[in-house]
Amino acid sequence: MDLVDRLLAGDRRAAAQLVTLMEDGGPSARDAVAAVYPHTGRAHIVGVTGSPGTGKSTLVYELAKEFRARGKTVGIIAVDPTSPFSGGALLGDRIRMQKLSTDEGIFIRSMASRGQLGGLARATGDAIKVLDAFDCDLIMVETVGAGQSEVEIARAAHTVIVVDAPGLGDDIQAIKAGLFEIADIFVVNKADRDGAEKTYLTLQMMLDMDQASGARQWRTPLLKTIALQGEGSVLVADAVEQHLKHLVESGQLQTRRNRLAEEELRRILGQELLDRVLRGVHEDEWEALTKGVADRQMDPYTAADTLLDSFLQGLAAREKGGGGTS
């Protein structure tokens, strides 16, 4: 029985091996995506993002417990950064979630970002598909501890929770563009710490401005939690369910799905084109061009055009030679 059949039969090891296959990439990963894809589209995908140390993992753990109590199966994908120097990674999100490790209704997977910017790994989208086909009702994706512009999660999730904590910045941070704009649910975690009220009020003011501008149908809830003590997570779980209900009833779920599909297609197309163009470039030619750009003999746009032109010429020549087949 192949891996995808075993996945669909509920084999946990097959699910784990498929995620690895997706991470490693290559032709067999693409075949697996093709086989898994018709069995996806059922799960509610929830992104959890925020700065490092705001308590994302702990909140994810509390939410997972709550959703299990509500009878849902839960998938968790936790992304941590890859070292740009060694290519290795230390994935520590599981520490906070280990008590869930042996629950058969939960599947937790740690992923290294492997050089991808934006808060997710290249293969996160494919790992979501695996867990979706594995019959997880709800999939939580915890991003790399995010800065201001790590907003990739908005292109992968139906509902985005942004977690903030006291003491991380003034009110101007809250009205800057970026991370805070993608929240469907706001959480002020560590609400028992000094300054929590100020953080709460700052965010409240920002949300009021959003509301006044009339740009949004959904009023983003602002919730306080003390995740370490499990306080407030029930309310966050309620908000997650309400948001999904809102998406379904307003017809926005379809809009979001279309947008996610478009973004994914665009990303894959870009990657494929890049791979194909680069595959056709001889190493010497590549070196000569990069050196030319570095030495200011050629600007980078012209260099890119040169590569694209020779790629297209190669295609045209092959078409002529091969009589148009394949």
């Binding site: 946990r12 090891r13 699910a15 784990a16 091996q17 995620v19 690895t20 991470e23 490693d24 990439g25 290559g26 890859t82 070292s83 120097f85 060694s86 290519g87 290795g88 990674a89 230390l90 994935l91 520590g92 599981r94 520490i95 280990q98 490790s101 042996t102 599947f107 937790i108 997977r109 740690s110 290294a112 492997r114 791979d275």
Partner: protein, 133 residues
């Protein structure tokens, strides 16, 4: 182009709270280009095996300083076998008396690293045993 990485689970089964060694090893393996899943203290054998399965790791490294290795390790190995985790390399670090080493090897723990083990020793042992293309 396939981008394969060696994935390692580092866990501390049992009740002692000395996790410095486990953290140092985790860091060393990270710097050797591996993806290290660190699960922390006080893991039961069930937790270790279930995490290893979900994370699809190539290596399980266990740190034990409590002297309970002859009780905990057979349980981990047995569960791993039960769950079909074949092809996983088992390592143990910590305080392991020399007399116990042959028995551990017999059980299927391939690498035993005591307090004097160097970073280089551990990483090259793993790279040697886990061949990834």
């Amino acid at each position: 182009m396939p981008d394969k990485k060696i994935r390692v689970l580092i866990a501390k089964p049992g009740l002692d709270g000395h996790d410095r060694g486990a953290k140092v090893v985790a860091r060393v393996l990270r710097d050797a280009g591996m993806e290290v899943i660190y699960t922390g203290l006080r893991q039961t054998p069930e937790m270790v095996v279930s995490a290893a399965l979900q994370e699809d790791v190539d290596v399980i490294g266990l740190s034990i300083l409590s002297g309970a290795h002859m009780t905990l390790l057979p349980k981990v190995l047995e569960l791993a076998k039960e769950k079909g985790l074949s092809n996983v390399l088992f390592l143990v670090g910590g305080i392991i008396p020399d007399d116990d080493v042959p028995a551990l090897r017999q059980m299927g723990i391939e690498g035993v690293f005591g307090p004097g083990a160097s970073a280089e020793e551990i990483t090259s042992f793993i790279k040697e045993k886990v061949k990834k293309v």
